[in-house]
């Protein structure tokens, strides 16, 4: 295998790797590139854990928080909800396709604080608020070791729970002293169940029964209680909601802009650089395909600024070709043969291209480390764009041009 064949093979391998993922995704019916919520529409919320004075946020608290929010927003696990911990004490919640942002905000704005309170001689209604009633709190979600769906003695669905050792003791003493009275189980100050205490509960185990439980909502409540067992209050730091129509409008508009600009650049390059300009257009088209392919492969979430970055990078990627072709004109002016001029142009331009692109890459990396959310995505897009443009504009253009110069030797085609 000679050098040309090896180069061709490399280009093909790079191309095939870029195409695998998009083709697979299209076959499976997904978007070619993962779209951010600003494009497909949805709700994105950042929550800040605000522990009570003197307490610190533990990693366990955060994973508990994620669980709580997931149970609330997506109890059945049907939506593509993404919930991630950001930094030490923040949670990012992303709910794609959600049309009613305020419903989501109200849902996750709650603290998920589970309390077992002494309701007294009278039952509290489900859904009633215990705020302002000043009922004594017996134990809280923090004292729970486990909660699970189960069945009561009659075989009806119910929720079982288990306390940690010292809470079990407290709870045992309390239930012993308050038989036939009511215990209210409240989530964020709202009663979810108000069972009567049938007898002392020792051993830290018990069940919540009645309340019209069926298998589904017993499971849900068990998960909520379990999830709510880490009562760390959260505060809404920021929330962003994009309706589906605005996202689609943005995609359509930027695709039109991208294609329009791309065509003008193709014409510009042919007018300015003739045959090499045409070759660089082929490389530029390959650049776009590769960029989208690798964004898809690395599963980069494409946001609106990311799309703007891609469109802008088309204008920047061609720069390497401009440097090379200007150099080619100069080398030809020195009276070199086409082959020698080509050799010299690529060799000399390469240094300039490398220096220029590496500094831009430095800027992109710094963006990556100091940016948040969409800015990070933009930095990845920019970095990938720089690397791929160096490959397509230098390596691929050279490969095609070497091939072309063997067949078309008329100087007028080049300068």
């Amino acid at each position: 295998m000679n050098k040309r064949q090896a180069n061709l093979l490399l280009i093909l391998v790079v191309l095939v790797i870029a195409l695998v993922q998009p083709i697979w995704r299209m076959a499976e019916g997904f978007d070619v590139v993962t779209l951010g919520l600003d494009l497909k529409g949805g709700v994105s919320v950042v929550l800040q854990a605000t522990p009570p004075m003197g307490q610190e946020v533990k990693p366990d608290d955060m994973s508990g928080l994620v669980e709580v929010i997931r149970n609330r927003v997506d109890p059945q696990g049907q939506k593509e909800v993404v919930i991630t911990v950001v930094g030490n004490d923040r949670v990012l919640v992303q709910v794609p396709g959600e049309k009613d942002p305020n419903a989501v905000l109200q849902l996750i704005g709650k603290t998920a604080l589970l309390e077992f309170v002494h309701a007294g001689k009278d039952a509290l209604e489900e859904g009633a608020s215990i705020e302002g009633l000043n009922l004594p709190v017996v134990v809280t979600g923090r004292d729970l070791a486990d909660a699970y769906p189960t069945r009561d003695q009659m075989g009806r669905p119910a929720v079982g729970f288990e306390f940690k050792a010292d809470a079990a003791d407290t709870f045992g003493k309390f239930t012993k002293n308050h038989v036939k009275e009511y215990l209210a189980i409240a989530l964020d100050g709202v009663v979810i169940s108000c069972p009567v205490i049938n007898g002392p509960i020792w051993g830290g185990r018990g069940i919540i029964e009645g309340g019209g439980f069926n298998v589904e909502n017993a499971t849900l409540l068990a998960r909520q209680i379990k999830g709510g067992a880490l009562p760390i209050p959260v505060q809404e730091l920021e929330s962003r909601v994009v309706g589906p129509s605005l996202g689609q409008e943005s995609i359509d508009a930027s695709v039109v802009a991208g294609i329009g600009g791309f065509i003008v650049i193709l014409l510009f390059m042919i007018l300015l650089y003739r045959l090499p300009g045409f070759v660089s257009n082929l490389a530029l088209a390959l650049y776009v395909v590769l960029l989208v392919g690798y964004l898809s492969l690395f599963n980069v979430t494409l946001t609106l600024p990311g799309i703007a970055g891609i469109i802008l990078s088309i204008g920047m990627a061609i720069d390497a070709n401009i440097i090379i072709f200007e150099r080619l004109k100069e080398e030809l002016a020195w009276g070199k043969t086409l082959g020698a001029a080509m050799e010299a142009a690529f060799a000399r331009a390469w240094i300039a291209i490398l220096d220029g692109n590496l500094t831009t890459l430095i800027a992109a990396l710094i963006l990556f480390f100091f940016g948040t959310g969409p800015v990070k995505g933009f930095a990845i897009t920019l970095s990938l764009g720089i690397l791929i443009s160096m490959f397509s504009a230098v390596f691929v253009t050279r490969f095609i041009l070497e091939f072309v110069t063997m067949r078309f030797k008329k100087l007028g085609l080049y300068a």
């Binding site: 650049i265 440097i323 100069e330 220096d355 500094t359 430095i362 940016g371």
Partner: protein, 399 residues
């Protein structure tokens, strides 16, 4: 077309460097005046979005054309501070509302966001009902940013800018081995950032968290441009040690000019496409980028190079050639015999010009590329230089 290398016309960049700097200075002064004006009217030099100020931004699509004043009145009821309402130009059904929802009645931080969501819902419903019913009204966008985020953003932005600038300086210093190159490049960068900010202030574009990405992209692009020129200066210094430094700069800028123009043209094409078709969400991004990119192309050619020259602290008492004979210069290097007069071709009408003593005229003559501006201070050099001056004057008289 191919350039005539025997009589390579130089564009007099260096000769007019004061003019280029003046143009930049005027642009920056204009920018500062605009920002001061904004500060007086808006309380901020730039139009800061909710990312920095905190608050809520809501975009609604109503069933019927809205009325900004009436909507503002409704929004005001839910707001602490002034509610800002704007209808989209040409699309009177779309309204943009900036409010700071009053959540003072909430007991703690946890219920505050719930209350805010409720109030926003209520406000949206009230506005929707007034203009054709809220059932089919669409919430296009609804953002809330808490007060902590803005300060964090500004801090991160400043850290990113400082580290970015230092990293770029270090890179240039390593690659080009001269501090002046790094300093000049950074001056050009700061110039571009100021121009981009001025443009943003002039058009009152909203500054959001994404603006930092715009600024760093401008920096990355502008430095790329500058480095292509530096690279050529470095190469010319090596190839033509007999040509003086200012002329090398003119030569390098002339050689790279087409590239500089072509490359800014391609980026501007894409940005104009984004401005025309890219939709409103990208308008601010594209516009700020456009200012920065054009400024970046300008500063690389007209600012960075003159500043490199300035920092070399050379006093130039001689006139620079209008043409260079690159073929002759190349042959001289090949044979090891330098004669600047043959390489540099002056116009005939410049006969009367006063020529400075040789040692000041050609500081880089015959020296290595690394120190082309150091002065020829040895006696022999002086004598040789004086001889050459005589020869040159004779030659000029002959012409």
């Amino acid at each position: 077309m191919l350039q005539n290398l025997n009589r390579y016309k130089l564009i007099p960049f260096v000769q007019y460097s004061k003019l280029w700097l003046l143009i930049s200075a005027l642009a920056i002064i204009a920018g500062v005046i605009i920002m001061v004006g904004n500060y007086r009217t808006m309380g901020n030099p730039l139009f800061l979005g909710i990312d920095f100020t905190g608050g809520s931004l809501i975009q609604l699509q109503l069933q019927e054309p809205g009325n900004a004043a009436e909507i503002a009145e409704i929004a005001q009821k839910y707001s602490v501070g002034e509610a800002m309402v704007q209808l989209r130009r040409g699309h009177q059904r779309e309204v943009e509302i900036r409010v700071r929802i009053d959540t003072s009645s909430a007991k703690d931080t946890a219920t505050r966001s719930e209350l805010r969501a409720e109030k926003i819902s209520e406000m949206e419903r009230e506005i929707g009902d007034k203009y054709g019913g809220s059932e089919n009204m669409q919430v296009l966008q609804q953002d809330y940013v808490g007060p902590v985020v803005g300060a964090e953003l500004i801090r991160n932005a400043i850290i990113a800018l400082i580290i970015g600038t230092i990293a770029i300086m270090v890179y240039i210093f390593i690659r080009f081995n001269r501090l002046v190159f790094a300093i000049a490049a950074v001056v050009a960068l700061i110039h571009d950032v100021i121009i981009a900010l001025s443009g943003t202030a002039l058009l009152k574009l909203e500054v959001n968290s994404f603006f930092i990405a715009v600024v760093l992209t401008i920096i990355g692009y502008s430095i790329n441009d500058t480095i292509i020129i530096y690279d050529r200066i470095r190469e010319n210094l090596r190839n033509f040690p007999q040509i003086n430094f200012p002329t090398i700069i003119n030569l390098s800028l002339t050689q790279t000019l087409t590239r500089s123009l072509a490359t800014v043209a391609t980026v501007v094409i894409m940005l104009i496409a984004l401005l025309l078709f890219g939709g409103r969400a990208l308008y601010g991004f594209s516009m700020a980028m456009l200012f920065g990119m054009i400024s970046g192309a300008y500063s690389s050619v007209f600012i960075a190079a003159p500043i490199v020259l300035y920092f070399t602290r050379e006093e130039r008492k001689y006139r620079l050639p209008k043409y260079v004979d690159l073929v002759a210069a190349h042959e001289q290097v090949a044979t090891g015999e330098f004669d600047e007069d043959e390489a540099e071709i002056y116009e005939e009408k410049e006969k009367e010009m006063v020529l400075a003593p040789k040692d000041e005229r050609k500081p880089g003559a015959g020296r290595t590329a690394r120190e082309p501006v150091s002065k020829a201070d040895d006696e022999e050099g002086r004598r040789e230089a004086a001889d050459k001056i005589k020869k040159k004057k004779k030659k000029l008289r002959r012409r």
